[in-house]
Symmetry: D2
Subunit: 116 residues, 4 copies
């Protein structure tokens, strides 16, 4: 991931694209890519969306969109000095506290809405 | 990243959330998290969005949303048997071909629209 | 809709929010609201998402998010001098040509991919 | 808007697309269209995003995406028995209370965060 970060930096610098890569714009780019991924799944039902039921062609498209999302996420994190692995681990700890096993079983609704 | 993938698997299984985690639903969850990140940047201008200009409080929120996006991206990739690092590298190669340095300089518009 | 447009204009002006309301920012605001709507549906299956199966509480939340999306769409269109009804009608005509009944039956994939 | 709703109903029925049009799927379709709109604005700065600075070609694309969003929003509302005008008016009233002029001046952050 560290390597990819550096490759993306060089990629943007060589093309003079760095000046477009402020966090606001990168968040929008990330959002646009998620939109493209969403389009691939919007008319599939939940079963059809499973990897064993996707066509090879569709899975290829999905992989490309997932890659785009990952690349922009790395680029955004680079610009914000965020260590993705570090914040992910921290968030997992928060989630462990927020969604205790016993209260969360069979229940995907947000923990802070569990009394509703 | 491999570790995080396994922790997330266990996290979902312990809570019986695995049955909600089909790719279609996970794409929506990813999309929802991007929406939360977008809200943090929507009224900031490009300069204000830079890390040196974000308040500590805002940066904390940004980190949490970035983490959520990363976690759902790992989870989705796990369900689709996608190796994030592998597809990212492949996409970088595609981008190198699609956006050659000379044609792309100063030009952030999509390469396939460069004649317009 | 014309009335709502004017009320939103006055609302923004009275709060000095007009300077935040450039199209780029409004697109992000729209995107953030869609994210909130998405979160309400992400763990529901297709049947559960139908109006007759939504809880009253959930439907209330859905209505509020749908309203937010509509309000930002009107505001954005106002800023871009877009007549929503006019462009909608035009797009329907385009869609009639793009997706002829005979070729589109039972087939939700994009018309330009029908040969794949 | 009532007319458009009916045209969209007929459009979907004639193509047997109605069975794809449950609220969950329509929310995803809406989200995908927002993604396409976002892509048109992601590398523009706030000034460039203003209607007087958009190229004719770009404005045409923007209109088409705005139309797509509006059409899916009408279709979704139809499926959820939501009256767009009614919920919009209701939401405006809520916003008037939530963001009083005096407290909101010069301040685009969410009212419930104004003490932070």
């Amino acid at each position: 991931m560290e390597d990819i970060k550096k490759v993306l930096r060089k990629f943007a610098e060589e093309r003079d694209w760095d000046r477009y890569h402020n966090p606001k714009n990168l968040v929008m780019a990330l959002s646009g890519e998620i939109g493209e991924l969403t389009e691939l799944f919007q008319w599939l039902n939940e079963d059809e969306s499973k990897v064993e039921n996707l066509s090879i062609k569709n899975l290829e498209r999905v992989k490309e969109e997932v890659a785009d999302i990952f690349l922009y996420l790395i680029r955004l994190s680079d610009k914000l000095n965020i260590d993705l692995i570090e914040v992910a681990k921290k968030k997992i700890d928060i989630n462990e506290t927020k969604y205790p096993v016993e209260l969360s079983k069979n229940n995907a609704i947000k923990y802070n809405r569990r009394d509703e």
